[in-house]
């Protein structure tokens, strides 16, 4: 079976929703990341067999975002493309689908990525108003059209933002994270310390150029956006401690400071069979060694699934936690990261050494464009493994619905 390798990639800067990228939509961002990934890997678009993109809050106009990426970049029109969704692990799914296609010889070179514009989320109408509008459009006479609106209430006039509550539990993501913090005994101070660490490491990653190396500029009007927008270089424990809890105002521990922010951005990697990479004269960064998806009951600990996905992926690779040199874990909340570590310990899956975890910060400091985060994790991990001469690395992401993903990378020399 051919090995699937990561040739490289690029991401856009990740910026706060409603700021620099406010006028770009999810396609603009996806296109930017893809063009940059192809340029940096020096992969000729004529050699690409497939494009896969992950995306969560999808505008109705893009039935298949990935295909629009191909067409809007004038990549060869014969390239099939598809869009996948696994909530915040969507780009992980894009990457593992690409790897599957490469390993089963159904493709040789695949662009896999993710994109999200949380500025431009599609708003919908209340079901009652939507039903009435459709009934009215089908009604034959004017009185019948008018009658269609009989059931509409004043409260139905406001549009509805896409769901942030779990359908099965009715809890928001933050409320679910509060429960995880409580169950695992993660204190507010620990969470704030984790958030501070995330900002400090991310700032260091930018200062020494490691993060800059994976970020390509996005051109808006006549300016270039070149850096991430969330990182707080002036953050302190004291400042973080002053922030009020958001989800449980009375007893809560989760604040805007120790949770990941709403973000616009995109990321893409290029995956190829090892042989094709050699043939094209391209030097891979890492091999995709194994992966696993796991899921838990959302009513229990909504974001804990990586604690199960990571051991499973390691088992599939024939490795143990001790073999791993670098970890990239999505930081939806500091509480979720710390819970994952704790639950893995409790389950006897081993202890993730903190010195090897999110060494350039994570989603709390860098931001979290839902559909793109998985590709950012894998891209950062692959680059960092190469820099460190590391042999194995793990990327993991939790997702709404109780899902979790883990991907094991191996250095190419092995």
């Amino acid at each position: 079976m051919p090995r699937a390798v990561i040739l490289g990639g690029a991401r856009t800067p990740f910026v706060k929703a409603g700021t620099s990228f406010a006028e770009l939509d999810v396609l603009d961002l996806a296109r930017s990341a893809t063009a940059e990934a192809l340029a940096r890997t020096e992969v000729d678009p004529r050699d690409v067999d497939e494009v896969v993109f992950g995306n969560v809050a999808r505008p109705v106009a893009y039935h298949n975002l990935a295909r629009e990426v191909v067409l809007s970049l004038s990549m060869p029109a014969r390239i099939p493309a598809y869009t996948v969704s696994l909530a915040c692990a969507s780009a992980c799914l894009a990457i593992t689908s690409a790897a599957d296609h490469v390993m089963t010889r159904n493709a040789e070179v695949v662009v896999a990525g993710g994109s999200e514009s949380l500025t431009n989320v599609p708003l919908t109408l209340t079901p009652r108003l939507a039903r009435s509008l459709i009934a009215a459009s089908q009604a034959k006479s004017l009185p019948a059209k008018a009658r269609s609106f009989a059931e509409v209430r004043a409260s139905d006039i406001a549009p509805v933002a896409p769901g942030i509550r779990e359908t099965s539990t009715g809890l928001t993501m933050g409320e679910s994270a509060e429960r995880m913090a409580a169950i695992n005994g993660i204190e507010r101070e620990e969470q704030d310390a984790w958030a501070l660490r995330s900002h400090q490491l991310a700032a260091a990653g930018w200062e020494d150029g490691r993060l800059a190396a994976e970020v390509g500029p996005v051109y808006v009007d006549s300016t270039a956006v070149i850096t991430d927008g969330h990182i707080r270089r002036d953050s302190t424990r004291e400042k973080l401690a002053t922030l009020p809890p958001v989800f449980d105002r009375a007893h809560g521990t989760i604040t805007a400071g120790n949770a990941s922010p709403l973000t616009d951005g995109a990321a893409a990697v290029v995956i190829a069979s090892e042989q094709r990479a050699r043939q094209l004269g391209l030097a891979p960064l890492a091999v995709i060694r194994s992966y696993a998806y796991a899921a838990v009951d959302p009513a229990d600990q909504l974001l804990i699934a990586p604690a199960y996905a990571i051991p499973l992926a390691l088992q599939r690779a024939g490795l143990t936690l001790d073999d791993i040199d670098v970890f990239e874990m999505h930081e939806a909340f500091a509480a979720q990261v710390l819970s994952t570590i704790r639950v893995m310990e409790q389950n006897g899956a081993g202890t993730i050494p903190l010195a090897k975890l999110n060494v350039m910060g994570g989603s709390i400091a860098l931001g979290h464009p839902f559909g793109a985060t998985g590709a950012r994790l894998v891209l950062t991990l692959a680059h960092e493994m190469k820099r460190r001469g590391a042999r194995y690395g793990v990327a993991s992401a939790c997702a709404a619905g109780g899902n979790g993903a883990a991907i094991v990378l191996e250095s190419i020399a092995a």
Partner: protein, 675 residues
């Protein structure tokens, strides 16, 4: 609209136009398809065959008739221009009458006729469509309709000036004829010159249905009451016509008689009837086609079209160019990148930092949005065009470039540095083109590992508007690399000329030489305004001293010095002195003129520096400067910088604004006996 019989009607027995009897639906067709040419252009035989086909249709009495083209992507062009060469005034007039007769026959058919416009229908081709009762146009990217004759110094002379006015009214018809406008399907529909726009796959079915239901045409004379009033009410019409004449005179400055004659033909037809209008059309056509201006303009168009193939003579095989790298995304670089993207190429650009790239990409977006607004490209295509351009502060993404065009500033060290960077990343067969107006390519390429793949592509400013690219072939250049640059120029929709290497190549050299002579005139005490006025009155678009102010004094000085040094002459001292004093051009402190709002006055420092008192004589100035230009062009031909006089004419007219009605420096020299 043709002049003389071309080759004998053999070899082909197949006619250029044939009648296809009615099918089950009762619709007959006339299919126009010249067997001896890839293009349906009008010649004697085509008209004879069309006349026969119309006669056959008349006796067959179908329910309706569709006029279609047998060519896959063209309806019909105008007259075969090569036939006009050597024709007498009577020949040309007779040819116009003949085509008028044929189209009158078509218009007089007692059943509905519909033109199936499947591609370009320009000039005579559109006059044929206008003689039909209805027109249905296919929505294809290359389909255009328009009466473009005035661009050639001619007028529509097969009833075009008569029928278009009757169809859409005087105001809009004049606008289309005098502007020689070419309309895309969408705009043609909006202008009311076609009845429907349909997908090419349903063109035949749609024309058949329109032929059954459309009915005969009536002369509406416009869509609105105002348009109809201006068209049909003599006093209102007189005002509109006199305004049009005044505007046209101001725009053509009296050099181009054709638009005025078109107005005359329109006026005659509306006041004295169609027959009088047609007579005026033919008379004007005969006179214009054989006038010096008409001959020069048609000859330029014929040579421009031919150049797209002729430019490849003596070169190698062009390599396909799908991906273009552009280094330097300033004013020129962004224009170049935009042209490449419009041509369907993928562009990767580099400038010194992301902020510079952002500015370039923003101006590419602006150019493209503007092109879409003007209808030059379709709106959705405009989004794809900008999607083809990406870039950054390094050479990432250049490895697969087929051609890299560098457009960094005019300094040999900067250009050499770019080339050595490029050589480190490019594929061995990639071509490097340097955009420079004066620096010898051989010197830029000195020290390169593969100098043979380095050529010059001298773009003119602004790139999206200027139709010329001067491709520079240095000694030892790979003929395939030169051919690749020429093919790229053609793909950009530009006319390439291929010139030898040397300071200023051809265009900058002749222009600088003329400008140097203008400086000499100032030194002799001729007033600055007098020189510029003499030149614009002669037909140049802008006077030489005004031009120096427009391009900037430092740029002009640099070009002038580059050329002067190479020819061991003195540089343009006055320009350097002015620049030293802070006069760096228009909007940069002034130059030969001082600017105040819209007003300009001659800069007294010029006279002071030169120690002269200005005189306002204009006599002989334009003749002298134009002759200087022409002589330098002739030297370029003698020295082998130019391959041919044709390329010299095209380069001067398309790149430097040499008055087109004079046909170019070599044509001018031949007529005036300058050698």
């Amino acid at each position: 609209m043709i002049a003389e019989r071309a080759a004998p009607t053999s070899p082909a027995e197949t006619p250029s136009a044939r009648f296809v009897p009615a099918d089950g639906t009762g619709i007959a067709r006339i299919v126009i398809d010249r067997p001896d040419d890839a293009v349906n252009s009008v010649d004697v035989r085509l008209l004879d065959d069309l006349m026969h086909a119309i006669a056959a249709a008349r006796s067959a009495r179908p329910r309706g008739l569709v006029i279609a083209s047998g060519k896959a992507d063209q309806f019909m062009a105008g007259a075969d221009l090569s036939l006009l060469r050597g024709a007498s005034q009577q020949d040309a007039e007779r040819a116009s009458r003949r085509m008028q007769e044929v189209l009158e026959e078509l218009a007089a058919l007692p059943f509905t006729t519909v033109a199936a416009i499947n591609g370009p229908a320009l000039g005579g081709g559109f006059e044929l469509a206008l003689a039909c009762d209805r027109r249905v146009m296919a929505d294809t990217p290359n389909a255009r309709v328009g009466l473009t004759e005035v661009r050639l110094g001619l007028i529509p002379a097969a009833g075009g000036t008569q029928r278009l006015v009757r169809l859409i009214g005087l105001p809009r018809a004049l606008d289309l004829i005098l502007g020689a406008r070419q309309l895309t399907p969408k705009r043609a529909l909006r202008a009311g010159v076609v009845d429907e726009v349909v997908h090419p796959a349903v063109l035949l079915r749609a024309t058949g249905e329109v032929a059954l239901t459309g009915g005969k045409a009536s002369a509406r004379g416009g869509r609105t009451a105002i348009e109809r009033a201006i068209t049909w009410l003599a006093p209102l019409r007189a005002v509109a016509l006199s305004q049009a004449r005044k505007r046209t005179l101001a725009e053509t400055r009296g050099f181009y008689p054709a638009p005025l004659r078109a107005i005359d033909a329109v006026a005659a037809g509306l006041s004295r009837g169609m027959a009088a209008g047609l007579e005026e059309e033919s008379r004007a056509f005969g006179e214009l086609a054989t006038s010096q201006t008409g001959r020069n303009l048609t000859s330029l168009l014929v040579r421009t079209l031919r150049q797209r193939r002729a430019a490849f003579e003596g070169l190698g095989a062009a390599r396909p160019v799908g991906r273009v790298g552009v280094v330097g995304l300033g004013f020129m670089g962004s224009g170049i990148a935009q042209s490449a993207a419009v041509a369907g190429m993928t562009v990767r650009a580099r400038d010194r930092d992301a902020a510079a790239v952002a500015k370039g990409i923003s101006s590419i977006r602006k150019l493209t949005t503007e092109a879409a607004r003007k209808g030059a490209i379709e709106r959705r295509e405009a989004t794809r065009v900008t999607g083809r351009v990406s870039g950054g502060p390094d050479l990432a993404g250049f490895r697969h470039a087929d051609l890299v065009i560098e457009a960094v500033f005019e300094e040999i060290g900067a250009k050499r540095a770019v080339i050595s960077e490029l050589e480190a990343v490019l594929r061995a067969d990639a071509v490097i083109a340097s955009n420079t107006s004066a620096l010898p390519i051989g010197e830029i390429a000195r020290g390169a590992r593969h100098p043979e793949r380095i050529v010059g592509m001298h773009f003119f400013s602004p790139v999206h508007k200027m139709p010329l690219i001067e491709v520079v072939r240095p000694a030892g250049a790979d003929p395939d690399a030169v051919a690749t640059a020429v093919a790229t120029a053609v793909a950009f929709g530009k006319t390439p000329i291929v010139v030898g290497d040397g300071p200023g190549f051809y265009t900058t050299r002749v222009l600088s030489t003329m400008i140097a002579d203008a400086f000499a005139l100032v030194g002799e005490g001729v007033a600055i305004e007098a020189i510029d006025r003499a030149m614009t009155e002669f037909g140049w678009p802008v006077g030489p001293l005004q031009l120096v102010d427009e391009v900037g004094l430092e740029v002009a000085a640099h070009a002038g010095e580059t050329i002067a040094k190479a020819r061991r002459m003195d540089g343009p001292g006055i320009v350097a002195s002015l620049a030293d004093e802070g006069f760096r051009g228009k909007a940069r402190g002034g130059g030969f003129y001082l600017y105040e709002g819209r007003k300009r006055t001659a800069n007294p420092r010029v006279y002071a520096i030169l120690g002269v008192t200005p005189r306002a004589t204009t006599g002989g100035i334009a003749g002298r400067l134009t002759t200087t230009f022409v002589r330098e062009a002739q030297r370029c031909l003698e020295e082998g910088i130019l391959r041919s006089a044709d390329e010299g004419d095209l380069g001067a007219v398309l790149g430097l604004g040499f008055p087109p009605f004079l046909g170019g420096p070599f044509t001018y020299a031949r007529e005036r006996g300058i050698s």
